[in-house]
């Protein structure tokens, strides 16, 4: 059964939704066909986390991942092709509630978001809600989306335009 599900992932794929709920806030939702403890395990185990946080289509390579997943614990992610050409994201977990909620900061710059992820289990499935709260409207407008950001300069102008539209 599992093999069938895997061979045709498109038909069983759950939808990812994104909504800008305010000038400074982006909310992402996705349902997973598994209990919350399993989704959390994939989220909080570095070896597993590295397999999905930087998927190939994003065009970013996650070189290393350290995470001390407990309230007050730190994390550090290094992206890049090699050591001389890498950049790091880091911050702290400000809340870790087993099987239900993670909140972390992003501290490598002034524009980092506070991210809250809740895992709500219903009938063996998990509704994941991820909320990024940025310090300013401009910070969210400029928020990166991996390889999609490596676009012609003009796309940057389109992004600037967006500052105006929400």
């Amino acid at each position: 059964m599992a093999a069938n599900a895997k061979s045709d992932p498109a038909s069983s794929k759950n939808r990812t939704t994104v909504e800008r709920t305010s000038e400074r806030e982006l909310v992402v939702t996705r349902t997973f066909d598994a209990p919350a403890r399993i989704v959390l395990e994939a989220w909080t185990t570095p070896k597993l986390f590295m397999r999905w946080w930087a998927p190939k289509s994003m065009g970013m390579i996650l070189r290393s991942c350290e995470m001390d997943v407990r309230t007050g614990g730190k994390y550090r992610l290094e992206f890049g092709q090699d050591a001389s050409n890498s950049f790091a994201f880091f911050g702290r977990y400000i809340e870790v509630t087993p099987h239900s909620r993670l909140i972390w900061t992003n501290e490598e710059g002034d524009d980092g978001a506070v991210t809250t992820v809740t895992f709500e289990e219903r009938g063996g499935k998990t509704l994941l809600v991820l909320c990024e709260l940025y310090p300013s409207k401009g910070a969210l407008d400029a928020a990166g989306t991996g390889a999609a950001d490596a676009m012609p300069e003009q796309f940057g102008q389109l992004d600037e335009l967006l500052v105006t539209l929400t």
Binding site: A2, P9, R30, A42, L48, P55, T145, L165
Partner: protein, 121 residues
């Protein structure tokens, strides 16, 4: 998904290459305004502002309507498409991540079924 034709993109990029025109869009994002309002706000002549608005209007970024002697400007559907494209870019980014997470989750589920939950017993 929002579809762009190359010609429309070129026109949009040209329209957006000017700081005043970007400012006008920002202003119209907050509220509709007359050309006179915009000219005052950006401290330029009525003729100058008409020219900028005309360029934005050609791309569909702005729509104007004349009521009496006043021409009012508002954001066009094209501008809303740009906003939709921004959201879609973010949605694809997270979709790529979460589809990859799905694969990891499926593997963990299978392992758990195979091993039962012996580790915890």
């Amino acid at each position: 998904m929002v579809q762009y034709s190359p010609a429309r993109l070129d026109a949009s990029f040209a329209a957006l290459s000017d700081a005043t025109r970007r400012g006008v869009l920002e202003q119209l994002g907050r509220a509709d305004a007359s050309i006179t309002d915009l000219a005052e706000k950006f401290r330029m002549t009525l003729t100058g502002m008409k020219k900028h608005v005309g360029i934005l209007e050609q791309t569909g970024l702005v729509i104007t309507k004349k009521v009496g002697r006043v021409r009012t400007c508002r954001l066009g559907s094209r501008a809303l498409e740009v906003e939709a494209a921004w959201i879609e870019r973010h949605r694809r980014f997270w979709e790529a991540r979460f589809d990859a997470l799905d694969q990891v989750v499926e593997e963990l589920k299978e392992q758990e079924q195979i091993h039962g939950r012996k580790r915890k017993e």
